[in-house]
Amino acid sequence: MWQFIQICVGGAIVGSIYAVIALGFSLVFRVTGAINLSQGGFAIVAAMISHTLGVQFGWPLPAAIPSAVALTVCLGLVLGKFTFVPALQRLSNANVLMLTAGLLTMIEGFVLVVWGSQPYALPPFSGEAPLVLGPIRIATQAFWVFGATSLCFAGLWFLVIRTKLGRALRACAENPDAARLMGIDVSRMTLLSFGLATLIAAIAGVTVAPVTTLQFDTGSLFTISGFIAAVIGGISSFPGAIVGGLFLGLATHLATAYVSSLFSTAIALLVLLGVLVLRPNGFLQSPLKGRQDNKEPARSHGFIGQPRAGVAQISACLALVIALILPMVISDNGILSGIVIAGILFLALMGLDVLMGYAGQVSLGQAGFMAIGGYTAGYLSINYDLPPVAGIFVGIVLSILCALVLSIVTLRLRGLYLALATLTFGLLIDSCAVGFIDLTGGPSGLVGIPSFSVAGYEFSSPQSMYYVVLGIDIVVLVALFGAMRAGFGRALKAIRTDQLAAAALGVNVLRYKLVAFLISAALASLSGSLYAFFFNFLSPEMVGTARSLEFVAMLVIGGEGTLLGSLCGGLLLTMLPTIFQPLAIYKTFVSGALLVGSFLYLPEGLFGAAMRLVVRFSKRKRHEPGPSGKAWADLTP
């Protein structure tokens, strides 16, 4: 019994932190209708700064902690001003969510560069000695955590419900255009909400720092847990955030204590998926129903056009020749391996492009299918001597089955709920990969996976694997190109822009979404199997959520809806750290920054922008000043 209470106290401490982060989600969502995933990152930044000031510089804690919070808020305001606010005006809410995922990656990369990868802990605010109540011992820091949570909740509630400023904030949430007409500076309100969210995240970060150890990637954990808590409670409800956070904290702690520490996350995630299916608006529904759909129509979509047939065919032949002779030119095995890895990831990226670029369905859990494919093929070939090709096939079948089950949840969801459901799936697979030690080797990974082989011939060198991957890439690419330029691709693009209008023309929206989802799952699985065969090893972090986010970054940087674009993004992010070895520590930061930059300044991606130039150039040659829409408008009276 006492032990139970002790566990509950621990759960409540962690839950309070989730609750505070969830409050930040809730606030930004209420004001902008978008999800800001970068909050967990700010919590870590604040904790790191206060550690530097308090421990390394020897400042007294009462000075170090407020300074750290203030510095973090300044950083937040600057980032918000130049990324989040302009993004809200240009991008759909689902894309804003990805952009903030990029911000989170960027912040984590920044922390990695400045503070390294070792964990830090602050001294407790009021001494090490815990409060002893009979058999229960409560760290005094717990009271600081509870106090900070209550303060944040009360302060936010007062601000939003009781003040004139709060009314303006709520007006922005209800209808930004009308609010603008009433003289409310919507951009400033957006920035204010972003800053406030940063403030409470920073407070959460510094108060929790003494009771847990923090390192650069703890930010993701905070963000994901806070996001889950916010959705469980009801995303636009402040009390919901508190309830959701405490529930999540208690559930994971109790699961860890009484079931298994390895499955505690899995249990929380299953709860979340259950909530998404049964009560998509959360435990405490708020009056702001349907808020997320207000800005659902995508505002910008890259339009590239098609180059002249000749141009495309000549470039394709040229690219093929270069691809064929490349391994003979490159003598450095490291670089060649990098290219092979990019080629393997390209398979998963093409699948993601069909799903995200063409059908417009956000997925943050693509690496989950990669894990299924990789572990299945690896396990079967180690333990049952199954030939790799058969292992790959079994992995694909298994992935498609998982995708079918998951689609029961995802097909009905859109925008941020879809992002959340796929993220949850990725995390679930992640925790299974860590938990099922007998099957996957647990955290240390699955070792001794053989190289890829067909009929006794083993492809163990990067050179031989290069040609295998090249062959598979070309087959998949050509097949998808065919489908994407025919009716299938057109139907997907129609769904991406306007599901209602697509259905009105007889496009079966659910069926097409499902097919796109299955294609992406199968390709991710194939990619995962090849990945495992190439490395002869697979560990959970190689196919974890960070990988899913990296996929999104690669796709967006390269260009969505172009199939080939993701290869550019994949090559860029894979090759940069290989070529510039000493700069590898900057990789996380750079990939985050590139993702944010692409969303803001190059929405059609690197490849898309290049294609656009080619198209413009080749079009101009054919018929001189083609009639433009503007000219037509001028002609008419």
Binding site: G305, A486, K493
Partner: protein, 277 residues
């Protein structure tokens, strides 16, 4: 039924709406509305703002489900069917605000219209087999013809979403025609068109009607357009059908004039005298 009096009455109507009722909260948006769309006709659905015209479209295409009443399309009951299946049957609608597909050329946008007519052999598309290529060529050629017919050929290669609003509206009509509908439901196709585009649209609708291939149900505000192209008019006011008949009868109906001018029935004569009717 007043319908039986009009010329197409002896044929089986392509669409027939019976006792349609829909309430939103406590407000009755559509109250016991019945009308027919005779085969091969242009039927106009008119009424003041908020009369419930678009709601009727949404009920027919089952974007909302009705509280009471039935809708029959070529004798098939549509209640409870999905929007997709209704479209597949050949009842194609457009929307009040143009809904073109972003990221496509005007030509591709029109090609989406052919979706319900094409065979869906995903496999042959993936492998880009001759059969899929032939079908693709055929669709492309037909989409070009349709654009030619509507006079939009010059926009073929341009980004659909960046075209002027008037062109987008015409494009949406073209896309609907591409689906080769049995019944084409147009929700204010002329709204947002300039006089020239509007005239082009009228010519197009008249051409369609003259070929007698497609029946049209049309929501329209501009009475001159209604009088020129429709041969059957249904008038709604506050969700209730107040008149149903040939354009000429409708023009002289005091209830209709009252609804449009917003006066009580007994004052109509006075108002008419004042405005010189």
């Amino acid at each position: 039924m007043s319908l039986q009096s009009i010329s197409h009455g002896e044929q089986v109507p392509v669409l027939s709406v019976r006792g349609l009722t829909k309430t939103f909260g406590g407000v009755t948006a559509i109250d016991d509305v019945s009308f027919d769309v005779p085969l091969g006709s242009v039927t106009a659905l008119i009424g003041p703002n908020g009369a419930g015209k678009t709601t009727i479209f949404n009920l027919i295409s089952n974007i909302f489900s009705c509280d009471r009443g039935e809708v029959f399309f070529q004798g098939r009951r549509l209640n409870g069917m999905k929007s997709v299946d209704i479209a597949t049957l050949g009842l194609i609608r457009t929307f009040q605000s143009a809904r073109v597909f972003a990221g496509m050329t005007a030509l591709e946008d029109v090609m989406v219209g052919s979706h319900r007519l094409t065979s869906h052999h995903g496999g042959s598309q993936v492998l880009w087999l001759p059969q899929a290529r032939r079908e693709e060529r055929r669709i492309r050629a037909r989409a070009r013809e349709m654009l030619e017919l509507v006079g939009l050929s010059r926009f073929e290669d341009m980004h659909a979403a960046e075209l002027p609003m008037g062109v987008q509206k015409l494009l949406e009509v073209t896309r609907a025609l591409m689906a080769h509908p049995t019944l084409l439901c147009l929700d204010e196709p002329a709204a947002g068109l300039n006089p020239r585009e509007s005239a082009e649209l009228n010519n197009l609708l008249l051409a369609i009607r003259d070929q007698n291939a497609i029946s049209i149900l049309l929501i329209e505000h501009d009475m001159s357009v209604v009088m020129e192209i429709s041969d059957h008019v249904v008038v709604l006011d506050y969700g209730v059908k107040i008149a149903d008949g040939a354009p000429r009868e409708i023009r002289d109906n005091p209830k209709v004039i009252a609804a449009y001018l917003g006066v009580a029935d007994q004052d109509v004569a006075k108002v008419e005298a004042e405005v010189g009717l």
